[in-house]
């Protein structure tokens, strides 16, 4: 497979009919450059959490794609996301990770911006500029769209992108598993400690596809299972209820989001967990009971790794984190991992989870180390001229996904593969690259909002409402 212009993604580079994807999409610097425009400048991207900026003047320097952005709460209390680049000569106006400020002052020539982005200070405005500069047009560049969902903050540079909840579609219920409290109350998550950041020598799509739902690579983590890093001292995690749950891949083709999820039978009772700490075990037993009393389907679902297109990974349970795969180059990815706990959890629970999270995830986490080794070596071994002639295969489970899946009274959206016996499939990866190719080929969001076209089709308008 070779690149022949920008329209060669399907079926040339991403051939889902045969289940083959060219290594070029991982190692080509031309494709990487095009991704910045076609994928990252269009998508909704996760930038942070409101618990990071609780007070007026608080800021957190985040990233959107390759670019540095400032997430801040203005003195008036409103949340903003700005490009971290001075309008005069482009210098970063904020070089700290986080803090509280009245103004962002560029260290190069001294232009200064208030926390609502307005240009408020221009050295020698009267003398050098003779008051002729229109400061009202020179504020910090602000994202086109911003949305705070249960405390998580998302932004897009594209004014034509659909609203965030429409972009998320029915994947919302899976994101809720991270952002709601363990007991099911809405939006109870808070960030635990700082954000872990590190660089991996691989393309950003290696971790993105892995977190889309790669259950096939569990052999890589066997050493962690043997050590018993999990919260009950057994295995990696503490999932005894999985013995009675259905294990599923769920993929939303028109959105590009996908995940592993587990569905419990009706009337399932909480199982013992966290036996290494009686206080922690009691907290989660109570939460599990409360969760089951609440209306809705999430009381029966157990979150597992998933991916919100393009580069935000969720792991709702054990450890409870969001990760962002920031592209640095075709060959480097900067990972930012955010850890969450219930805001109202006792201190002993938060401390217990902190220890477990660090043991599991992040640059020092045992499981993440396994993954990083796989991704970095796979990337390096795919860059050579011979390697690039041979595509990867994504054939596992082709043709076995179903729509309108239902089990024991619980319905799930999208395309579903039951892994309870099959163990693994590559439906989530095919879904990710199908959507990725659509983004790379589309001229605008009009071509990407296929669900709106379907809703507008004759006979479907009423159903869409």
């Amino acid at each position: 497979m070779t690149i022949s212009g920008t329209r060669a993604y399907r079926p040339g580079l991403v051939d889902l009919a045969s289940g083959q994807i060219s290594r070029e999409i991982f190692v080509s610097e031309d494709i990487y450059a095009q991704e910045q425009e076609c994928v990252f400048a269009r998508s909704w991207l996760f930038v942070g959490h409101e618990s990071q900026i609780p007070n007026p003047g608080d800021f957190f320097v985040s990233r959107m794609g390759e670019e540095s952005v400032i997430l801040c709460r203005s003195r008036a209390g409103n949340v903003h996301v700005f490009l971290n680049s001075c309008r005069h000569r482009g210098m970063k106006v904020c070089r700290y990770d986080d803090g509280n400020t009245v103004v962002f002052t560029c260290p190069y020539h001294g232009w200064s911006y208030s926390t609502d982005g307005a240009l408020v200070g221009v050295p020698y405005f009267r003398e050098a500029y003779r008051t002729e500069l229109d400061r009202s047009k020179m504020g910090l560049i602000e994202v086109a769209q911003l949305y705070s969902y249960k405390g998580s903050i998302w932004a897009s540079w594209d004014p034509a992108a659909p609203p965030f909840l429409e972009y998320l579609g029915e994947f919302r219920r899976f994101l809720d598993l991270i952002l709601d409290g363990w007991d099911g109350r809405e939006g109870q998550a808070e960030l635990l400690g700082g954000v872990q950041k590190w660089i991996i020598p691989c393309n950003w799509k290696f971790p993105a596809e892995n977190f889309s739902g790669d259950t096939y690579h569990n052999i890589s983590h066997r050493s962690v299972d043997l050590v018993g890093a999990g919260p009950s001292g057994r295995s990696r995690r503490d999932y005894s209820e999985l013995n009675v749950a259905r294990k599923l891949h769920v993929a939303l083709p028109d959105r590009g989001h996908q995940t592993i999820t587990y569905v419990l039978p009706k009337d399932h009772e909480p199982q013992p967990a966290y036996q290494n700490s009686p206080e922690v075990a009691e907290y989660f037993r109570h939460c599990e009971e409360e969760r089951r009393k609440r209306p809705g389907i999430n009381g029966r679902m157990i979150g597992a790794p998933g991916e919100i297109f393009p580069n935000t990974a969720l792991l709702p349970r054990q450890p409870r984190t969001l990760a962002v795969w920031h592209p640095v180059s075709a060959h480097q990815t900067e990972v930012w991992r955010f850890f969450f706990v219930d805001r109202d959890a006792p201190r002993v629970v938060k401390n217990f989870l902190r220890d477990y999270y660090i043991r599991y995830s992040g640059p020092a986490g045992m499981t993440e180390q396994d993954d990083m080794e796989n991704w970095s070596y796979a990337h390096a071994a795919s860059r050579g001229v011979i390697a690039r002639r041979h595509p990867y295969t994504y054939q596992m489970g082709m043709g076995h996904a179903v729509e309108n899946y239902e089990w024991d009274g619980l319905k799930l959206p999208g395309r579903v593969i039951d892994l309870t016996r099959a163990v693994a499939s590559e439906e989530p990866m095919r879904n990710l690259y199908h959507r990725w190719a659509q983004f790379m080929e589309a001229n605008s969001w009009d071509e990407l909002m296929t669900w709106r076209n379907q809703a507008n089709a004759p006979g479907n308008a009423q159903a869409a409402q």
């Binding site: 103004v103 002052t105 200070g121 020698y124």
Partner: protein, 66 residues
């Protein structure tokens, strides 16, 4: 020892003489080493600004009043 004024060291309430002859009082210091929020106490070049608050640039300060 430099004679330059380190604006980060200046507390709220200090009075400053500016290059244009105006005297101002600090109302807030953002600690960025570049700007100060001040109120005009006197302003020979533009008396109408007395009482107004403004951001001033570090290089416009010529003296910190005792």
């Amino acid at each position: 020892m430099s004679d330059l004024i380190n604006v980060r060291d200046l507390a709220v309430g200090r009075r400053l003489l500016l290059a244009n002859g105006a005297e101002v009082e600090i109302v807030s210091n953002p600690q960025d080493g570049v700007w100060l929020f001040v109120r005009y106490c006197s302003s020979p070049p533009d008396p109408a600004t007395v009482g107004e608050e403004e951001m001033i640039f570090a290089q416009d300060i010529i003296e910190v009043r005792p």
